[in-house]
Amino acid sequence: MTEPYMLNLAAMIRQVQQGKLSPATLMESILKRIDILEPTLQAWVTIDRQGLLQEARRCQEEIAKGKIRGLLHGIPIGVKDIFYTSGMKTTAGSKIFANFIPAYNATAVERLKTAGAIILGKTATTEFASRYPAPTRNPWNLEHTPGGSSSGSAAAVATGMCPAALGSQTGGSVLRPAAYCGVVGFKPTYGRISRYGVFALSWTLDHVGFLTRSVEDAAILLGILAGPDPADPTTRPQPVPDYRRSLRSLRRPPRIGIVREFYQEKSVASVWKHTEKILNQLKRAGGKVREVKMPASFAAVQDAHRIIMWVEAAAYHEKLFEKNREQYSPKMREMVEIGLLIPSGDYLRAQKIKRLFRREMDRMMQEYDCLLSPATSSAAPKTLSSTGDPWFQVPWSLSGLPAISIPSGLNDERLPLGLQLAGAAFAEGKLLAAARWCEKVLDVHLSPPMERFA
């Protein structure tokens, strides 16, 4: 019999709403799973065990009375510890906020709750969603990083401690940990999901995203989280389609652009070989694969991203840093101090490159349903003192275009590898449909080896 914690989000929703699975049974199954895994994986910062069981029972009573608050009624969801959660500790992975309890929910959290979700707890993040690692281990090999900054969210989703979790991405912080841990990672177009109530790292690069175990689950969450928010003026009024229906909208195999430039050179040989193999598989299934020539501005993307992120992080932290210098990690301290030195003219030049690159990519995206690359330059590195490099996600975090990573197999060390697909602005439906097509063709379902936790 399938244990409830093993179900993906779509199956959990179906079973709960059909009365085949009670939210209380589901919660007990998940808490039991957390009890077994958490001492080793350290994916969570806060879990209110008592409150969770009470809330699950309340959801069950509501179902019995025919009251279903929304699609996620009674479903436990993890939340990265940089999202404000009313009455629940929000540390941002920093000593400075070790006891900070927000008075309100981030808009993304509020939308999950309105849809009936139970906020399971707060997942571990790197310090301020930047470079200093969380204590979380990679469930595939405990000596390897799970990636970051959404480290806890990735490890928790990969191991059935929750079916989905919120994350955030400024460089590569959703898609990279997703790929390292063998799950799906999604970040929408900049402006699609509200960032209100989320600790900022870099205002013009920060995206709310999430981690799930299937593309369909990502479509479900996007439908709940997307849409304008008066509290976040950067959100856009673009209509929010039914993304689950969008999954079936592609009536032919997708037009896929393969990005060799930069990605091939930066990938370790085994990753590129794996990507070529996957490409052949997609071609055989009918995918229209063409090589992409990236625009000239692509060459400056990594540098422009670094400058914008460091300057904005420094501006955000300047006052807090003055008073709490010693409580910042050396890596974060360096970022703030260097960011304060960068001349404003250079920052503006980097922002011009951001705009130029986006315009050039908007034009190029008209010819493709998605652009494909490996999700990461290697499998999860054997280290716990860094979270790997964000290079492969940076072009999409800078341009604000939507991107998704899906698991594509294991390397020789039995560590997960993933594919990254990027799409056109506010065309997440098309991107998800292409990703679903690839997911079906590849038919890869990864589950970390659990013997060591038994």
Binding site: G191, I307, E337, L341, D346, I353
Partner: protein
Amino acid sequence: MSTAEAKEKIVKMLSNSAVQRFGEERAKSLYPAIQEIAQSLVSIADCEIALEEEPAFFS
């Protein structure tokens, strides 16, 4: 000016600012990071951008 010269000039400018802002000792420990960011500054300076191009910010 060659790329190396341009980088050297930026490193010097950032190092001086670091000394003024954080003191000599701290500036010294920031030197590797200063070199790294100087490389990025040189790289974006080389990118061709039209005069009328505007910064992106929230898009």
